[in-house]
Symmetry: none
Subunit: 214 residues, 4 copies
């Protein structure tokens, strides 16, 4: 499965998302992370410590892609509208992490609408860096995104300091010694399961269609 992570704004946990989804998928099957971000943020993460999967430069994508079952692509920060379509067509699932603040949601809805109009249906919004209750930011953001007619992951990624600790240590959050590490990791595990479930569902419906056709 090929998953692309893209965002219109930085600082929304794009790299964190790419790293942790790769970590989750690696626990299921051979996974490759392609670092397409010009700041090489994923490669730097790996360099500081150790990530349990292979990370390669985007210019080496074609060479390595065929040797892995899952490929996560961490893209550049600010895709143009026209880039989006290309990105969506280059993967099975396009994940768009977004923080629940006005500026990010603005940027999201403005640009995504064009994607929806293009007929792409292989993308999903992921709410990240969600502040703890009693802040209702997460719920409001979800509402706003759903009202725009965009698909959203059921689970959100909460704001935990342990994610920064993990970036500093160069490991995924599950390998950090911290009381909150488990909670943080479970957020991504839940997202990973949503992804795999979604894929199964797609396959089943495809097979059903195929069976009917026969």
């Amino acid at each position: 499965m090929i998953i692309t992570v893209a965002s219109f704004k930085g600082g929304v946990g794009k790299t964190t998302t790419a790293v942790h989804l790769a970590a989750f998928l690696q626990s299921k099957s051979r996974t490759l992370l392609i670092d397409g971000d010009p700041n090489r943020s994923t490669s730097n993460w790996a360099k500081r410590g150790h990530l349990p999967f292979k990370v390669v430069d985007e210019r080496q994508a074609a060479m390595h892609a065929r040797d892995f079952d899952h490929v996560i692509i961490d893209t550049q920060a600010r895709p143009e509208k026209e880039d989006l379509e290309a990105l969506a067509q280059g993967c099975h699932l396009l994940i768009l992490p977004t923080t629940p603040d006005v500026l990010s949601l603005d940027a999201l809805t403005l640009t995504i609408t064009s994607l929806k109009n293009l007929g792409s249906n292989n993308f999903k919004v992921l709410l990240t860096v969600v502040p703890p209750r009693p802040s209702r930011d997460g719920d409001e953001a979800r509402l706003s995104v759903e009202q725009a007619g965009l698909p959203v992951f059921d689970r959100v990624i909460r704001r935990y300091a342990v994610f920064q600790k993990a970036a500093l240590a160069g490991v995924p959050v599950c390998n950090v010694n911290d009381p909150k590490a488990k909670d943080a990791w479970e957020d991504y595990v839940a997202i990973g399961k949503e992804i795999l479930d979604g894929e199964k569902q797609v396959r089943r419906s495809t097979e059903a269609t195929f069976a009917r056709a026969v």
Copy 2:
């Protein structure tokens, strides 16, 4: 005075910084904000409510610039290394807002070092979205930036929910009805004063040099 706000990552409060510095300077003298961000984030902020200063498109910069005493330029999100030099030369002060997390600081130090080597000395780092104590993130980030030999503002911008409220309302934070509005606004007032003090100091030293020369 011409001030440019630029950053390597989004979501670090670039737009918020541009808007509030413009609001502060407007209280001193006629101020123009040039929206150079491709998502037009500043223009959208203004559209939702009312900002106490003029906002124009970057393509109209040359036309309006001469009518104002202060000009704030909100640039695009991800300048290349080579862009940075051009940006620095196009203003009296280049402000680089940064959040105190590892990924942002990485991006900052990597790219800025080249600026320092180029001999530019008209830039200053601004720590933004700093989490409250007892988190020591702000202090650690300051230390890290200072050790890299980069100039930093004394004051930092703290993480307050009221900033998002202000963005939503389309006004500067000082015009929001909220118990924390005053605290948030004072952070930017303090930065504004640091800027004006710095400018005075530069002028004084320039005049002194001139006087000596005569």
Copy 3:
């Protein structure tokens, strides 16, 4: 006076026009050329030789604009429809150089019509790279543009090899040692005069309106 030069296709003499109008206006008053083309074509022209006016990067526009009487803006190659309006509003006169071939004229009329509908009336088409008689391309192109209801400069810029020589040498044509240099330069002088005459006329009518109002 602020003049923007924009075009929908490359290779229509956009840079050549910007450079020579700046050279003409500099002979009247302090003139600045802003290089807004991503390939930095004007800056490269200046780098190869010497231009009799100041050339700056677009990102330094706000800083320098106020120190000059005339500003010529050489924009990026391929503006979108929505960009056009912004460009038109950011200057006193928008010049659209066009070669007299079918493809260029097509692109021109299609896009400009929207400008006309927006009520902008501060733009003018300039026929460039016009082949010598007996080719009637120039006349036909003029007819076609006028029938579309678009304002055109009376004079056209003829196709002269000396323009390429000038670009190579990094100087305006008037400083090239060539028998045709004078003819080529006079084309731009005539355009420059049309521009200044137009401005005077506008001023006179504005003053007349004002007098009547009083």
Copy 4:
């Protein structure tokens, strides 16, 4: 086999080389061309007419790479020194097309030397746009490159107008109706055979090494 085509200057036939090598390899086995050039020159070529192989955007590389035996990557125009190493590591063979003029050769030797020092040995220079005899440019260029210790293809690509005709028609030269089409096509066929021979040789030596090891 994964082949990357890169060059330091534009106008050296990078796109032409990528297209025709892909056309040749397609006649042997399933071949994919990845268009990594920001101006989408290859995609545009394909759009004008029809190319006998699949062309995809670089952002879709990971998705499609695994379904083809050969992959040709047409990279961006102006790689930095640091990019070169990454490019070389991302392919089995890095082809560097160069025209036999002083400026190009200069740029080539300067930058390549670093590659050679890095120990990369999977690259080869291809002389392109070589003018016909009696010009000795081709021979001199080959001499100069060989003296620099760089590997060069035995065959060169000659300058034929039919290449431009092919680009305009959106097909490979072999599908153009022109007396010179056969000659032009044979140049690339010869290069293609050199590449496949080289690969066989590498495989044989690898197997020999392996056999010895056993």
